[in-house]
């Protein structure tokens, strides 16, 4: 099952990357990032089946960090929305110069 799991992981990860590249809505991009992280989780779990429980421990960490990151990121998006009234990436270009 390892090979199949890894294939699935790769596919999910790629889909997440494509989603980041396609979308202009910041929240959906965020969700694609979450998808990428989940794919990585699957990798860890797949390997841990054959290499010991260390993989699952890392999954715990990844999930924790992902949660923290989601919270903070969404707070940032809310803050941006307050100023710009939009979450479209096209308009978030203060770094231009």
């Amino acid at each position: 099952m390892l090979a199949e799991s890894l294939a699935l992981t790769a596919a999910l990860f790629t889909i997440g990357v494509v989603g980041v590249l396609i979308h202009r809505n910041a929240i959906i991009i965020f969700m694609c990032v979450e998808l990428m992280l989940t794919a990585v989780n699957l990798t860890f779990v797949a390997f841990s089946r054959f290499y010991g429980t260390a993989g699952q421990v890392f999954v715990v960490f990844v999930m924790t960090v992902s949660a923290a990151e989601a919270a903070v990121g969404l707070a940032i998006i809310i803050a941006i929305f307050r100023h710009r009234q939009t979450v479209d990436l096209k308009n978030i270009n203060l770094l231009k110069g």
């Binding site: 980041v20 590249l21 990436l89 096209k90 978030i92 270009n93 203060l94 231009k96």
Partner: protein, 738 residues
């Protein structure tokens, strides 16, 4: 002292060590000291800038009042005259003592060393090694001087004739504002010439070789305010350089194949090389290319006539007696190489004889007195190359010595004439050409001493018996004849022509050139000294013999011209008329060039005495015939003055314009070189490629990178995500491909 005496191969001290010969280093150092002193004096009084008094307006038409005054003062003579006050150079007195003085001291030292050599008869050269100049792996070159019989001959000629010419210059260049500069350059030249003849290996010789080329340039363009003179100097230097390239290639090939560059080493190892092989022929031919440049043979002779733009004593010293003979010396020095390659030796002889007759024909139609002598020099150098080309190294050197006597005499004599003419024309403020024979004539009444001495030199160069030129020229022709049967040259084949036949042809052409020599030299004498005075009635009163300081040197040279032949009296004459000691020079030079000469003449049968006498008789007859022919056919009365001269027609015009060789070279080489340089090298390579592509291009590249970088900073986060992902793709790609 850091002197180290080289020990000879037998671990026995050289017979000359511990004698005066140890002071041989002083020979070149004395003129060098003269150069430094005179140079400092000239710099001391130089005022740089527009009003430079060191630069006279000698030949140019425009000039400020001061320059004109100086130019007038040059010819005003010792006491001045009622128009102009004398303005001699401030340091003229010191320079007049230092300049010739160091030369006279060098000559005296050379005499002393010669005495030591004559007393001890050394077989091997005396080497003085001073320091290791180029120790580079396999290449070991020392700064060393070599004293042997051959270099002794050259030293005596250089310092002796040089000293005489220095003394002459004291009178000739008397009122020139550049007086110290002149003597400093002249001393520097003698220094380099001595380094050239004293060098113990090819690189040291080359240092002297280049140095004399430099001094020639400096002295030809001495009056550089006039563009003609500066151009002549440049021409001489550039053509010399082309020859130097040949010399360098020869040195490279020598080193690559033999591994040593000092004369003793090469001479010892030359036997390893296959005689007659393409390698040794190539080495000799490249070396000969250097000689054609330095000694003005075909194809690199065109600088010598132009070099007459320099002061006449310079022409006498550099372009008659010493520098141009360096090529002959080089071949004599490299006799161990040339004797191994019959093809190269024959080439030298062929080029020499063709140059001899070619220059003689041009000399027939020249009107400038110095140009006639220049072409005469080229022609006589051709004879010398014939001599060393057929392996008669002694004959070549003999002619070198006698030629230096009578050619220096001729040049200095013409210097007296020009001096007188200049004085006359300046007194009457005439702008006529003082060097053109059409403006001379009948000068024997006004310059009697010069007249007599120049006739002596003319007879000598034509080969009239018992004068020095007769002995030396005859010996060369006799050597050619002797080697035409049985020597290694005769058995060799030159471009398909058998050597023997070629040598007979060379002999014939040599005789023809002797005939022409007699004609043009007699013509020079006729037009200058005989016939009606074309100088003009006003100027006639001002013509006079030069001061004793100049005529005394002429007298000494005259004596040498008359008695110089005693250096190498041939057997065929002493058997008949016991004139004196037999073949002094041959015996003297035997340790140096003997083996090489023997290698060439091995197998050549001795020419019977009757044949030799017949040959000598033929040469004398031809010489006399030439003189008589010239006297009979050339009428000095019918020569028009220069300003009335009609341009020549047809073949005469061709010869008078030196067969348009300069123009041809201009069209084929100079103009295309300019065109390539201007259009391709300058416009395309320099402006386009280097400036445009590399310099401006790299700036544009940097700007481009900056533009790209700036376009990446969009501030658009989405684009940043793209860039990030593409970067990851690329990195993973690297891993994948591995």
């Amino acid at each position: 002292m850091f002197l180290q005496t080289a020990v000879s191969a037998a671990a026995v001290a050289h017979p000359l060590s511990g004698t005066i010969a140890e002071w041989v280093w002083l020979l070149p150092v004395l003129p060098l000291a003269g150069f430094v002193i005179n140079g400092l004096l000239s710099l001391n009084s130089a005022h740089f800038g527009p009003a430079d008094p060191n630069v006279p307006d000698h030949h140019s038409s425009e000039g400020g009042a001061e320059a004109l005054a100086i130019a007038h003062a040059e010819e005003a003579g010792e006491a001045g005259d009622k128009h102009h006050a004398v303005k001699r150079h401030r340091w003229a007195g010191v320079v007049s003592v230092v300049g010739p003085g160091v030369l006279i001291l060098s000559f005296l030292l050379a005499l002393g060393i010669w005495q030591a050599m004559a007393a001890t008869h050394p077989e091997a050269p005396f080497i003085q090694r001073y320091f290791s100049w180029m120790p580079a792996g396999d290449l070991q070159i020392d700064a060393a001087l070599q004293l042997d019989q051959l270099s002794m001959v050259m030293i005596l000629v250089v310092t002796g004739v040089g000293a005489l010419i220095h003394v002459f210059s004291v009178g000739y260049m008397r009122d020139d504002p550049g007086y110290p500069r002149y003597f400093s350059y002249l001393n520097l030249f003698v220094f380099f010439m001595l380094v050239l003849v004293l060098g113990a290996n090819y690189p040291v010789l080359f240092v002297g070789w280049e140095g004399v080329g430099l001094c020639s340039y400096l002295l030809i363009g001495f009056w550089f305010n006039d563009k003609v003179n500066a151009d002549a100097g440049k021409k001489a230097f550039i053509l010399n350089r082309i020859g130097d390239f040949g010399f360098l290639v020869a040195m490279f090939m020598l080193f690559a194949n033999i591994g040593v560059l000092d004369f003793i080493g090469v001479s010892a190892k030359a036997g390893d090389l296959v005689a007659g092989s393409p390698l040794i022929t190539a080495i000799c031919l490249f070396m000969f290319l250097g000689c054609t440049g330095k000694s003005a043979q075909i194809p690199l002779y065109v600088w010598l006539p132009d070099a007459m733009a320099g002061p006449t004593p310079v022409s006498a010293l550099i372009h008659a007696a010493t520098m141009v003979t360096a090529g002959v010396y080089l071949i004599a020095r490299s006799s161990f190489l040339f004797s191994l390659s019959p093809v190269a030796s024959l080439t030298v002889a062929v080029v020499g004889v063709i140059t001899a007759i070619f220059a003689a024909t041009i000399g027939l139609k020249q009107w400038d007195i110095k140009k006639v002598l220049a072409y005469s020099t080229i022609s006589q150098l051709g004879y010398m190359f014939v001599g060393v080309g057929v392996g008669a190294y002694v004959s070549g050197m003999f002619h070198l010595v006698t030629h230096s006597f009578f050619k220096a005499l001729l040049f200095l004599g013409s210097g007296s004439v020009i001096h007188a003419m200049h004085a006359a024309y300046h007194q009457t403020h005439s702008a006529e050409d003082a060097q053109d024979m059409r403006n001379m004539g009948g000068l024997r009444r006004y310059l009697p001493i010069t007249f007599v001495l120049m006739w002596i030199a003319t007879l000598a160069i034509s080969g009239i018996p018992l004068l020095s030129g007769f002995f030396s020229k005859d010996e060369i022709l006799a050597s050619v004849f002797a080697r035409a049967h049985g020597s290694t040259l005769a058995s060799a084949s030159w471009l398909g022509i058998p050597g023997g036949t070629l040598l007979y042809v060379i002999y014939g052409i040599g005789l023809a050139a002797a005939f022409l020599t007699a004609i043009y030299m007699t013509r020079l004498m006729l037009y200058t000294f005989h016939g009606p005075v074309r100088t003009g009635t006003q100027e006639e009163q001002h013509l006079h013999e030069p001061p004793w300081i100049m005529t005394s040197t002429l007298v000494i040279l005259g004596i040498l011209t008359v008695f110089g032949g005693w250096l190498n009296l041939p057997e065929v004459i002493t058997d008949v008329v016991p004139l004196g000691p037999l073949e002094l020079l041959t015996h003297w030079l035997d340790p140096v060039v003997g083996p090489a000469t023997a290698r060439i003449t091995a197998g050549a049968a001795q020419v019977p005495a009757t044949t030799e006498q017949a040959l000598i008789g033929a040469a004398v007859v031809i010489a006399v015939a030439g003189i008589v022919f010239a006297i009979a056919r050339l009428k000095p009365d019918r020569v028009p003055r220069k300003r009335d001269a009609v341009p020549e027609e047809g073949f005469e015009r061709l010869v008078a314009n030196k067969y348009y060789v300069d123009e041809a070279l201009d069209q084929t080489i100079v103009i295309p070189t300019y065109a390539v340089s201007r259009n391709f090298l300058w416009r395309f390579v320099d402006n386009g490629l280097i400036d445009g592509l590399f310099v401006n291009g790299s700036a544009a590249l940097a700007r481009g990178f900056g533009w790209v970088g700036s376009r990446l900073q969009t501030g658009n986060v989405g684009i940043y995500a793209w860039v990030l992902v593409v970067g990851v793709l690329a990195m993973l790609g690297a891993f994948t491909l591995r």
